[in-house]
Symmetry: C2
Subunit: 239 residues, 2 copies
């Protein structure tokens, strides 16, 4: 739950939302060691050839991600990924109680590259779907040699929540229903496909499946339900 508000915040910034309580702030305030936050979804030396190949495939289908208004139009967009969403938002006096300097996004909480979650999300706004390329590191073990069910659930939560947040703004996870079909060996590179099924008022129903990169093997299937929340709700500023 709420794993997605993190992405929603990123979304809000990307979409240049004019909401007064969400605005970019100096990254120096919460990122003292660099003037630019690290984008964890950039390729690194721990990515396997398979991971790189799939990344290159989707990256070639993407909008050129520049700040130039005359960008190349393409169906896909690669989303950046940081280890704290909070540094992109201010929320008034109520935000201060939630700022914990040491807190880090669960999926990006280890500096060692390749050890846990290596992933990048590509989103297709027109088709209301996204694809995540995920390489499972050696610190995600459940049964000997296999990825922990909780790590897979975490990625499903992350990817479906990213899509819901991208399409609808701030959301909370209300339900995850996950069917594990086949065990996933540590080190696997998989695709996590996520698509909008339907919207009912504030509810977004999302489907998800985790497959091998050639899509021949199904590892996991899931549905997810997200509920839109207000920015006030997000920051607890009811008064």
């Amino acid at each position: 739950m709420l794993g997605h508000i993190a992405r929603s915040l990123g979304r809000l910034q990307l979409l240049q939302s004019s909401l007064p309580s969400i605005r970019p702030v100096s990254t120096m305030a919460l990122w003292p060691f660099s003037s630019q936050p690290r984008d964890f979804s950039q390729p690194n030396s721990t990515w396997s050839p398979e991971m790189c190949k799939v990344y290159d495939h989707y990256n070639a289908l993407c909008d050129t991600d520049t700040e130039n208004k005359e960008r190349k139009r393409a169906p896909w967009r690669k989303l950046p990924s940081y280890n704290r969403s909070i540094k992109y938002a201010t929320g008034g006096i109520h935000l201060s109680k939630m700022i914990k300097a040491q807190a880090r996004l669960f999926t990006r909480n280890i500096k060692e590259q390749g050890a846990t979650f290596e992933y990048v999300v590509f989103v297709n706004k027109e088709e209301k779907r996204c694809v995540c390329v995920f390489q499972a590191g050696h610190l995600l073990e459940g049964a000997p040699g296999y990825v922990h069910g909780g790590a897979i659930a975490t990625m499903i939560d992350t990817v479906t929540g990213t899509l819901a947040g991208f399409l609808s703004g701030p959301i909370m996870t209300a339900n995850l229903n996950i069917n594990y079909r086949n065990p996933m060996p540590l080190g696997s590179v998989v695709l996590i496909h996520s698509a909008l099924d339907q919207i009912e008022r504030k509810k977004q129903f999302i489907t998800c499946k985790v497959t091998s990169t050639d899509e021949s093997k199904l590892y996991t299937e899931a549905t997810a339900l997200f509920v839109s929340i207000s920015v006030d709700h997000l920051f607890g500023s009811q008064n």
Copy 2:
């Protein structure tokens, strides 16, 4: 999925299973820095007073955990928790392909105490249920200030799987269905209650709810389905 086989293996050892392919081996082989593996469920200085209080409550209800045959009988038992299950098992030639020296159990993959999952599981065999005391560290963040839904799913997978494995031996997660009712602030101490609902042949249906330590607030409800697997299946030794 399979997050539970890890616990099942621990169970197998605890139950002194006579299965020939699962037997204790020297901890030196996979634990080069100590003659004794670290039990991660022991209290440490990062545990809050609330965590310690609940731990003491359940610990007082436990069997005295000695190797003396004349142990004190009590309804509850505290389970140990290690960062690798593999060091307690050998599985013949097929095991070797799964041994990755750097691999660590997902929930115990960070040495820094208090940063991620601090938890201990108490099981009541007669009542076919268990209770986990869980303190959520600052590296489990989803939305700013709150625990990531995937981290909660991971603990639900872990606790329900521990119970299923304790009662039935090696199992795999087949389904997790999780309803998130209230956001859980980072640093929270919660109880994860898990109980056997029913057994149908190889299927164990488990219920789970996550509450505040006084049980007045419900954070999450879930059901889980586990399927018993053979030890051969576990180690992939079909031939």
